[in-house]
Subunit: 477 residues, 2 copies
Amino acid sequence: MDQRGDQIGAVRVDQSGRTAAVVARVRRLVHDGTLREGDRLPSTRALAAELGVARGTVVAAFEQLDGEGYIRTRQGAVAVVAASVTVRADDVVRPAHRVPDGAAADRAAPLDARPGLPAVTAIPERDWRGAWRRAADEPLRNTLSDPLGTPVLREQVAASLSLSRGFAPDPSRIVVAAGTSEALSLVAEALRAHLGRAPRIAVEDPGYRTGRRALTSAGADLSPVAVDDDGLDPDALATLERIDAVVVTPTHQYPLGSVMPVARRRRLLDHAARAGVLVVEDDYDSEFRHRGAPVPALAALDTAGSVLHLGGFSKTLDPRLRCAYVVLPRPDGTQGAAAEAVVTARRARGPVVAEPVQAAVAHLVRSGALRRHLGRVRRDYTHRRERIAARAAAEHGLEARALNGGLHTVVTWSGPATGRAVAARTAAAGVLVTALDEYDVTPGRSPAGVVLGYGALTLPELDRALDTLFAAVHAPD
Amino acid sequence: MDQRGDQIGAVRVDQSGRTAAVVARVRRLVHDGTLREGDRLPSTRALAAELGVARGTVVAAFEQLDGEGYIRTRQGAVAVVAASVTVRADDVVRPAHRVPDGAAADRAAPLDARPGLPAVTAIPERDWRGAWRRAADEPLRNTLSDPLGTPVLREQVAASLSLSRGFAPDPSRIVVAAGTSEALSLVAEALRAHLGRAPRIAVEDPGYRTGRRALTSAGADLSPVAVDDDGLDPDALATLERIDAVVVTPTHQYPLGSVMPVARRRRLLDHAARAGVLVVEDDYDSEFRHRGAPVPALAALDTAGSVLHLGGFSKTLDPRLRCAYVVLPRPDGTQGAAAEAVVTARRARGPVVAEPVQAAVAHLVRSGALRRHLGRVRRDYTHRRERIAARAAAEHGLEARALNGGLHTVVTWSGPATGRAVAARTAAAGVLVTALDEYDVTPGRSPAGVVLGYGALTLPELDRALDTLFAAVHAPD
C-alpha cells in the first residue's frame, strides 16, 4: 500500500552522493566499534553543519540508516545506534529493539537466518499494547465462541482482501484458523470426511515442508508436481490422475520465489474446474511483493468456485499469534460441497483462536496500525533485498534468487558443494540457514542451494550471514 | 481449594434464622420490582439498626445475596442490586455485571440454560485486564512458537495438577491445545497416523456430543459403552474387540454426573494395561466437586502409563480462551508410542494457542487470581445446586440428578413427556435447555429428561428456568 512512497524515498536517497557518503560514514563507525549500541548521534542540524552539507542530506541518510537497522530515529529525538555486529558481549546491557531475542545477550547463540520469520520486533509497542488493551477491555460474556470466527475479524479480513487482493468475499465465507498449518490440516480433514477416504492432494515440489506435514498428519495422500520458473505447471498437474485438491503458492512460490503468470493461472483454474480439483491458494507473503507488475490472486480470477484462499497474520504481524483464515469457494460453485465440508470440520474441531486474539488482530487491522507497520517494514525488507542482490552479484559463481518478493532468498552456486554441506558449515560458524533440498518431495529435484530468511535480520546481521554463507560456499570440500 | 471455608460459610448462614429472614426480604423486594438493577442498598450498619438485628447478621445476609447473584457487595462500598428478573426492558440502561450477554438488553432473547457455560462474568475485571496487560508487556520477539506450548504455562499446569489432582507430571509431558475438542481431535489424528488406519475409540453412552464430533471428523470409528450409576463399565468395555482408546469422564460423567468409584477406576486401568487401550481421561469440571469424598484422577492411579489426561480453562475461566492441555502418558509405559504420536501430530498441526493467551492464562494461575475466582464461584455454584435440589424435591414426580459436582443438572420425570418435547416447550417459553437423548449414541439409551446448565445463571434466572421447566414437564401433551 505504501510501496510507491517507499520507492520514491529510495530513489531520492540513491540520487544523492552526499547522502550515500554520510550513510557509509556512519556504517563504518558502527562496524569498527567506534559507535556502539545506545550511543546518541549528533542532531541532524549539528551533523549537517559539521559536515558542511544540507540538513536534508543528513535527514535522508538517517532515514536510510534506520531502514537498514543501524540506528533508530524518532520524531523530535536524537538518533541512537540500534545495534552493532562488532559489539562485545560484556558491553551489552540489554538487547536493542531490533536485535532478535538472545542474539545480543549471548553472542554464542547462533544467528537464525532460516526462512519463516518476519520483523516482529519492528511492530511499535504502543500499537501492540493498545490492541491488547482494547481486547482485554471488551466486556466478559457468558457465551461460547463461534467456531468460524468473530464477526469483527471476519469483516476486517474481507475488507482487507478487497483492498489488497482484488476480490471481495462475503465475511460469511471467511473461517478463522490457528495458523496456516492448522488451516491446511483442517482442509485435509474436511476432504477426508467428505470423500470417505484419504484425499489425494497435489503439492509443489520443492515446496512448503510444514504444510506437507500438516496435510499428511491429517490423512492426505500427497502427489508432488514439479515447479518451474513460472511456478506449478498445470499441464504436469493434469497428468496426475484423480487429484482432489492442489496446494499452490502462485504469488511467490515457496521456496523458489517464482510468480505464476496470469495465463498459467487461468490454465490452472480451467483444469481445476474441468477436473473437479479444489485449488488451495496459499497466499503467504503476498504483502511483500518487491518487483514486477501485480498479479491478481487466483481467488480473484476464479469464476467456477474452485479456489479456497488461505492467508494469515504470521508474516505481517507475528507468527506467535496463531491467527490465519481461509476464504471458502462460493457455495454454488464446483467446490461448494468441499467448502461445506470445511465448515463442518471447523465446527467439529471447535473454535481454535481465542476471542481476545481475534479482537486484537481486528483492532490492528481496523486502526491502520498493520498498514503503517507494513509500510515501514516493506522499506526495511527492500533494503535487505537490495543488499543481498548487490553482494551476490559481486560474488563469483553464485546466484541469489526469489528476490521479487517475500522474506527469503534462495542462494545457489555452480561449485560442487551440496546445500546440506554448506548449511552444515554455516551452522558450525554460528549462522543457521536451510538446505534447499530439504524442501524437495522428490530427492534431487532442487539444485544445490540454501534458503536464507532475512525478515528478522538487521542489515549488519544480514552482512554477517552473507559473509559466513559465501565463505562456506567457497570453502574447499 | 476453598471448599471447606465455603461450607463453613454456608452453615453459618443456615444457622441464623435472622440472616435468612433478611435474605428472603431482599429477594422479595427484587422479585416484586421494588428494588431494581443498580439500586443502592442501605449500609449494613443502617439496615441492622433499622431491622433491630446485629450488623453481622446483615453482613452474612449480604454475602449470601451476593453469592446468589442478587446484589453486588464490595469492601468499603454500599451494596447495589445486581440484576432483576422482573425488570422491564425500557428500564434497562446497560446489562449488569452478572447478567448474560443480551439477556437484560433484550428481554425477547431466550435465557440460555443449556450446559457448557461457567460464570465468566464473575471474573474480576481487574484480574482479567491485568493478565492481558502482562501478556502484552512481554517483549516482542523474532521467534516461532513451540507447538507443545510455552514453558511457563506448562510449568503452571504441572504445578496446579500436583496441587489439585494428585499427580505431578513433568512439564515436558504437557502439550497445550486449543480447547478440549481440538485436543480430542489431535489425539484421534495421532492414533490414525500411528496405526495407519481409523482408530477404534470407545465413548460413553450417553456422552459428550461435541467430543464425539471432533473424534469422528478426525477419522476415528466410535464404539459406544453404556454408563451406569458408577460411570463407564470396564466389563462392558472389555466385551468390545480391538479397541485402541477409550474416552471417559470419571470425575463427573457427562452428562449423567456419576462419579467412578476407585475400585472401578482400578479395574478400568487393569483392563487398559492388559488390552493395550489408551485411556483418555477428560477431567472437565473436576474443580467443581460439591459432595462426596475426593476421588483421585485416573492419571494419579495409573502405574502402567495408559492414561492421557485432558484438562483446560474453559470451565474455570472462559471457553472463549480456547486453552486446554493434555498430559501425556509416560514414554516408557504401555502407551509410550501413542504419546509420541500425539507429539508428532501436535508438531504437524502446528502451535494453536497464541503466546499472549498462554501468558495471560499462566499469569492468572500463578498470581492466584484463578484460585480466588474459583473460590468465589464455587460458593455461587453451591447456592445454585442447593436451589435446584430444594425446588426439585418439592416438585412431584421429578428428579434433579448430577448435582454432586459440575455446572449442570439432569432433570428427569416419571410422566409420558419426552425430553425433546419438554425442551421444545421451554424454548417456546424463552428458556433453552438440552434434551437428554441428544447425548445418546444408541437411540433410546437415556430416560426422558433434559440437561440444564446453571453455571452462567443468576439465582433469579435459575428460578425462571426451573419455573418454565417444571411447567413444561407438567403440561398436558
